[in-house]
């Protein structure tokens, strides 16, 4: 059975008396343990879809099924990392990371003891007691991601987590993410604007069309795992990239 199913999801907004459709009839099915990316032009409803899956927003129509159970409007059923890192500036990195555990009722001490080895293992060693403002962009993203991970849901939504990073850091973070993904066996939904990134990371890629956001295509990535930078130069990779580029290009022209 599919881990996560999105059934006929649409979302309408009314702005200044005018109705418009941010998301139209989205249907997705994501198998357990897959890495699935979503690409599409800006403003096509990717974050809206994530907000719906995370239960922060109710869809105008449709259902979201997690393990067959409808989770529309139920926040906290999936892990969600929003488009910004959103670390609390008055908390240390360690205390930021344990936020989800704390909310669940785990004592601070226990949560810290649980989180500390994770920070050490995933590249934040020595920064536990620093404040977010003292960290580089990449580190902040890592902290935000670990926070989502420690919240420990099977499905994790990542909304352009590496959008603000430079190319070098980005490559490093992608490998880091793949390592985490294989260590924790999560199902990941990943929004990005970067086609290379989408291909490099994913098992499947959904392409969204320009407003009203519709799912236009679903592409499978048949690159072997584990992947490293060499994958970026393979023929399958460039063919796929070509295909996706032309799809998005059509989008630009319609726009």
């Amino acid at each position: 059975m599919d881990k996560l199913k999105i059934v006929h999801n649409s979302k309408f907004f009314r702005k200044n008396g005018q109705e418009f459709c941010a998301l139209q009839e989205a249907n997705m099915s994501v198998a357990d343990g897959k890495f699935v990316s979503i690409i599409g032009p800006s403003g096509c409803g990717k974050s809206t879809l994530f907000n719906i899956i995370a239960g922060l927003l109710k869809p105008s129509t449709g259902q979201v099924l997690l393990d067959g159970e409808n989770i529309v409007g139920k926040s906290g059923s999936v892990g969600y990392m929003l488009q910004k890192d959103l670390l609390l500036p008055w908390r240390t990195i360690l205390d930021n990371v344990i936020l989800g555990l704390e909310i669940r009722g785990v004592s601070k001490k226990e949560a810290r003891a649980h989180a500390l080895p994770m920070l050490k293992r995933y590249g934040l060693k020595g920064f536990e007691s620093h404040y977010p403002a003292e960290l580089s962009g990449g580190m902040r993203q890592r902290a935000a991601l670990l926070r989502t991970l420690l919240y420990d849901r099977d499905v994790i939504l990542l909304d352009e987590p590496f959008g603000a990073l430079d190319a070098q850091t980005r490559l490093f973070m992608q490998s880091w993410l793949l390592k985490i993904w294989s260590d924790f066996k999560k199902t990941i939904l990943f929004v990005t604007h970067d086609i290379d990134e989408a291909i490099f990371l994913s098992d499947e890629i959904y392409v969204f069309s320009h407003r009203p956001g519709r799912i236009k295509a679903k592409v499978k990535v048949n690159l072997p795992r584990p992947r490293n930078e060499e994958a970026l130069t393979q023929l399958t990779f460039s063919q796929l990239k070509q295909e996706l580029l032309s799809m998005l290009k059509v989008e630009q022209e319609i726009k």
Partner: protein
């Protein structure tokens, strides 16, 4: 603001130390912010003391030369003598305790209750929008003009002074906390909800901490307002307090004693101001290390 400057400073010194060993004989310039700041601080404080001494000296000198009429202007020497007498034989000390007690109690109640009111606006936007215009209207009312009513309502004793100090501060504190609430990052709230938080989690983990700087920013204004409230209350009618002492001294034409009152109040204001600065630092520090 959330800096860890000490650690970094330590690292720098060791780095410079290593460099020094490499290049024996050459001098290595280490930029040391804290040392620079300390030097500037010493200069500022000694400058401030010097100016104070100059003003007092000038005052004394001009009254001795009769350029200023010492009947009206008194003089530092006479103020000191009168003050000493009032403190040892009169009621200056109990008056001081009375005034500062009413001010501090009124200030604390006003700040706490005001902040609680302001923060409570986060829970419901309908409630906050209904209340806000009344808050602004009440803030515009010259509360000191209500003093006679309050004195009649709460008696000429300690309570009416505390109430006045409280009324002077409570709205300012509420508005400051409300500004803080309005400026809470909506995305932070969203992030917390995505971690399965309920409203009370968001309130305690995000809304209060991010409003603290706003609440703290009103403390310094509020302590001065509280003192003004207390003194006006004492002017209207009271058996004790520095305000009453000044009023009484004026009525019997003892201008030296009036000056004593004014000077004591100035010192009280300064001490309380420094107290709030300390409180502010303490709160912000604890917030960072909650």
């Amino acid at each position: 603001m959330y800096g860890n400057t000490e650690k970094i400073a330590v690292k720098q010194t060791t780095a410079a130390h290593l460099l020094k060993n490499d290049r024996a004989g050459e001098s290595v310039l280490v930029e040391d912010e804290s040392q620079k700041n300390r030097k500037i601080r010493v200069q500022v404080i000694s400058g401030q003391i010097l100016v104070g001494i100059l003003i007092i000296g000038l005052w004394e000198w001009l009254t001795r030369l009769s350029v200023l009429d010492s009947y009206y202007w008194s003089s530092p020497g006479m103020i000191l003598a009168t003050g000493w007498k009032a403190a040892t034989q009169g009621t200056l000390m109990t008056d001081l305790a009375y005034t500062s007690g009413a001010t501090v109690i009124g200030f604390l109640c006003g700040t706490l209750i005001g902040s609680a009111i302001g923060l409570s606006f986060w829970w419901s936007s309908i409630y906050s929008k209904i209340t806000e215009p009344y808050l602004i209207a009440f803030n515009a009312v010259p509360k000191l003009a209500l003093a006679p009513v309050l004195v009649i309502m709460f008696g000429i004793g300690f309570n009416s002074k505390v109430i006045l100090a409280f009324l002077m501060t409570v709205i300012v504190a509420a508005m400051a906390a409300y500004s803080g609430v309005k400026n809470v990052d909506k995305d932070l709230e969203k992030m917390l909800f995505s971690l399965g938080a309920r409203k009370h989690h968001v309130f305690f983990k995000v809304v209060i901490p991010s409003s603290v700087p706003w609440m703290v920013s009103s403390l310094k204004i509020n302590i001065a307002l509280a003192l003004a409230g207390t003194i006006v209350g004492e002017f209207i009618s009271s058996k004790q307090g520095i305000g009453r002492m000044i009023l009484y001294a004026g009525q019997v034409m003892d201008l030296n004693l009036v000056w004593v009152g004014v000077v004591v109040l100035s010192f009280l204001a300064i001490v309380m101001y420094l107290g709030t600065v300390g409180l502010e630092k303490w709160v912000l520090k604890n917030k960072n290390h909650e």
